[in-house]
Structure formats: C-alpha cells, structure tokens
C-alpha cells in the first residue's frame, strides 16, 4: 500500500510531494524528484528513481507534463507496472497507472495536483486526500501536504510505516524535507517531527546567514523547551 500527492501551490509557485507506504524508507524517492521553477514527478513501483532526473530535465527544456509522461513510458519497458505523476511550473498535471497493476490502483488529476494510489488503497482514502488538499489552499504547501496525509490516516487499512513530505521554493535545494523511515504510526510521527522542526528551521537559516550573531543551538533549544511542560531535554 503506497500513495502519493504531487502538487504546486497556486499562491507561491512552490512544488511539493507527500508519500506514505507500508514499505520502509518510502521518502527515498525524494532525491531529484522536484526542481525549483521547473516542476517534478513521482514514480511508484520497482526502482522508480531513474525517472526523476529525466522528468525534470524534460520539463526544464519545455515539454508539457503529458509529453514528459509519454517519454517516461517510452523509455521504460516496465512502465505498465508503475504509476507516474508529473507536474510542471504552471501546475499542469499528467498521471499514469500501468495496465499490469491491480484494478484497485488508481490516480486522480485535480487542478494543480495529482494523487497516485497503489494496490489496496481504498477509494475513500483518495477522496480524503483530495478533499483535504483542496480545502487547505490558504495554508503553506508543506502544512497542506501533512494535513492531507493526516486526513488519509483514518482510511489506511494498515498504518503506513514510512512517510515523507518535501517542498521546493525558489532555491536549488529543498526548503522542507522531512521523513519517517520506520515507525508503527508514521503519519503521527511525521507530525511530531514537523512541529518540532518548525522553530528550528528558521533558526538554522538565520544561523547560517549571520553566524556572528547566532547563539549556540543548545541554548536555542533550551530556551525553546523551557517554555514547554513535559518536554525538556
């Protein structure tokens, strides 16, 4: 059981991807999946990583997502065993579910995002993802991706053991990239990680830009945790 949501934020232009699976380390698909000011793709099934760079290169040279998808399929003898979604910098989407997959595997194309749902994913889970993501357009993309995963959690036949969210803004590296590779309740663990990470994210950025003014991380953490009950390190 694996599902993924690939999206572009209509307000900011950020590109993002959320994924969850009963397999381990599903977030390993993030490498080279997204590219700033270009778009991105996700491939489920087999060893999908090789599609990532090719899809971004084709998007960068100007191919529309539908053409990129054609190229990925033409380049891959096993493409009928895979699911693929592609999004470009305009939010245009294309998706593919291979004919060799079970009938329960499906994808959904929506304005500015696509959902891939592998075998044993309930249609109600896909609906929950779509409803949540559509309803949260005012929030930041990374928060929307996480909320979508949380909305899907109740529809999972078995809890995902690994999950991740990644988003790219205008830098050539991710601005959010969080994973849980092995956990009994991976979506909840990703929420815990995300909430802990948020205040540090700003700190890490500021520390790198202005090292001379930065306080040590330990002091920052102590200040942060001092205001909380039951979570002191």
């Amino acid at each position: 059981m694996t599902f993924a949501l690939l999206a572009r934020c209509g307000r900011t232009g950020r590109i993002g991807l959320a994924i969850a699976s009963e397999d381990l380390c599903t977030g390993a698909v993030f490498a080279h999946a997204l590219r700033s000011n270009t778009g991105g793709s996700v491939t489920l099934g087999g060893s999908p990583g090789r599609n990532n760079t090719l899809a971004c290169n084709l998007l960068a040279q100007g191919y529309a997502p539908a053409r990129v998808l054609q190229e990925l399929r033409a380049n891959d003898p096993q493409c009928e065993s895979r699911q693929i979604a592609v999004i470009d910098r305009h939010g245009r989407v294309a998706a593919h579910t291979g004919e060799a997959l079970t009938r329960s595997a499906l994808h959904r194309i929506e304005p500015g995002f696509a959902v891939l749902a592998g075998a044993a994913v309930k249609p109600s889970l896909v609906e929950a993802l779509v409803q949540s993501f559509t309803a949260s357009a005012a929030l930041e993309l990374d928060e929307r991706l996480l909320k979508a995963l949380e909305s899907a959690a109740a529809e999972c036949a078995t809890p995902p053991r690994s999950v991740g969210i990644v988003a790219f803004g205008n830098q050539d590296y991710s601005d959010v990239d969080l994973r849980v590779d092995l956990h009994g309740d991976a979506i909840r663990e990703l929420r815990r990680t995300y909430d802990e990470y948020q205040p540090f994210a700003a700190y890490y950025l500021e520390r790198g830009k202005h090292p001379r003014q930065a306080i040590p991380q330990r002091e920052f953490a102590d200040m942060l945790y001092a205001g909380r009950s039951g979570n002191t390190r």
Binding site: L24, A31, H32, G49, R50, E196, Y197
Partner: protein, 213 residues
C-alpha cells in the same frame, strides 16, 4: 554540534556520507551528494548554498582544495563554517573554521574524512575513522554506519562537558546513477544512531550488492 564522514569506496567508486547530529532532519541536505561528481557536506554555521557551489566546481574539474579557496575568498564568515569534500579521484578537502567553538576538528583517512563540531574531543573523529577502517573490505554502507557508531561510542557530542543526544542521522550512498542507491534517515529520535542501525537492518539492501566491476 554534528559529526560526519564522507568517503569514496576504493573498490566500487561509490560515494557515501554518514551524519549524526543534535539538529533535526540532517538528511534533508541531499544537495550535498552528487553521483559521479562527489560529496560536499557543510555543517556548523552552514549555508545551504555552499554544497551546490562546491559540487558545481568539482563537476567543472576543479579540485576540492580549489573549491575551498573559492569559498574562503567570497565568504566573510568562512571561519564559522565546517565542511568535508571528496571528489571522484578520492581527493579530500576539509575545513574547520577557527570560530566554530570547541571541540571542532577533522581527521583524514584513505579516501575519507571525519569531521565534527560540538564534540567531546578529538577522540570522536578518531573513533569515526576507526569504525570506518575496522573492516576495510566491507561494503561502503556498512563501513559508514560503523563509522558513525564509532563516533558515538567515542563520546559523540558534548557541550560544557555534558553529553548531547544525537536526534537525527543520515546514511546515503550513491553510485553512477543519479538516484541514491541507499538513502536512510532518522529525522527526530532520542537515540538516532541506534535507530538508524535499526532502519538499516530492516530495509532491503539487495540492490546494493556489487558484481565484479
């Protein structure tokens, strides 16, 4: 506070990085690894733009040492940065800025460098190298994990004499294809290095086995 190793496998040419740190989600820094080019892993008061620049320079044919010179010339805060670089020839570049604070430093081994800051002392980077060299014929990913465990077991991170927990850890190996062969993360855990070992033992690593090349 962070400790890392970057290395090249002398048998296969694969590159790998292992990291453990108090910071959350250190493995999000996947811009630090580039197949067929090398690894540049910056830490301490790092700037995310550093590693892509270094790798772009390596890809053009510049040496790690030259790339360090470029950084030093353009970065007024260079003495707050720490980074380790390895290129496809196995050449090492490493810099530990003098303003990072105690204890920070590095140790160079054959086609590898261990480096860290906010550590218990120089025994930590020596422990990393010791772990890496314990079984020199083992697979790169095994050696990298042993290296990180060696750093932890040698005292790991400390500030003001107090040990500090590793909250996140990362193990990544890349071969000639752009997509990593192995990319394992623990983003937030009380004992991140032990958890990384647990993920490592649980995940399927069959595709990492090497035929004779």
């Amino acid at each position: 506070m962070t400790y890392s190793i970057v290395a090249r496998c002398p048998r296969t040419g694969r590159f790998g990085v292992g990291t453990a740190t108090f910071s959350i989600a250190c493995g999000r820094r996947n811009e630090s690894v580039r197949a067929n080019v090398g690894i540049s892993k910056s830490q301490a008061f790092y700037d995310r733009a550093t590693d892509p620049l270094v790798l772009n320079l390596l890809a053009q044919g510049y040496t790690p040492q030259y790339a360090l010179g470029v950084l030093e010339a353009q970065d007024p805060d260079f003495q707050y940065r720490q980074l380790g670089i390895i290129d496809r020839a196995g050449t090492i570049g490493v810099h530990t800025g003098r303003d990072i604070g105690p204890w920070a430093g590095h140790a160079i081994g054959p086609q590898c460098v261990a480096f860290g800051n906010g550590l218990a002392g120089p025994q930590v980077v020596e422990g990393i190298l010791g772990g890496f060299m314990a079984e020199p014929d083992a697979a790169l990913e095994d050696r990298l994990l042993r290296a990180i465990e060696g750093g932890r077991d040698a005292g790991g991170q400390a500030s003001n004499g107090q040990p500090r927990p590793e909250r996140s850890a990362w193990l990544c190996v890349v071969d000639r294809g752009e997509h990593p062969l192995l990319d394992l993360r623990v983003d937030l855990h009380d004992r991140a290095v032990s958890q990384l070992r647990r993920v490592f033992e649980a995940c399927d690593r069959g595709h990492l086995r090497v035929d004779t090349r």
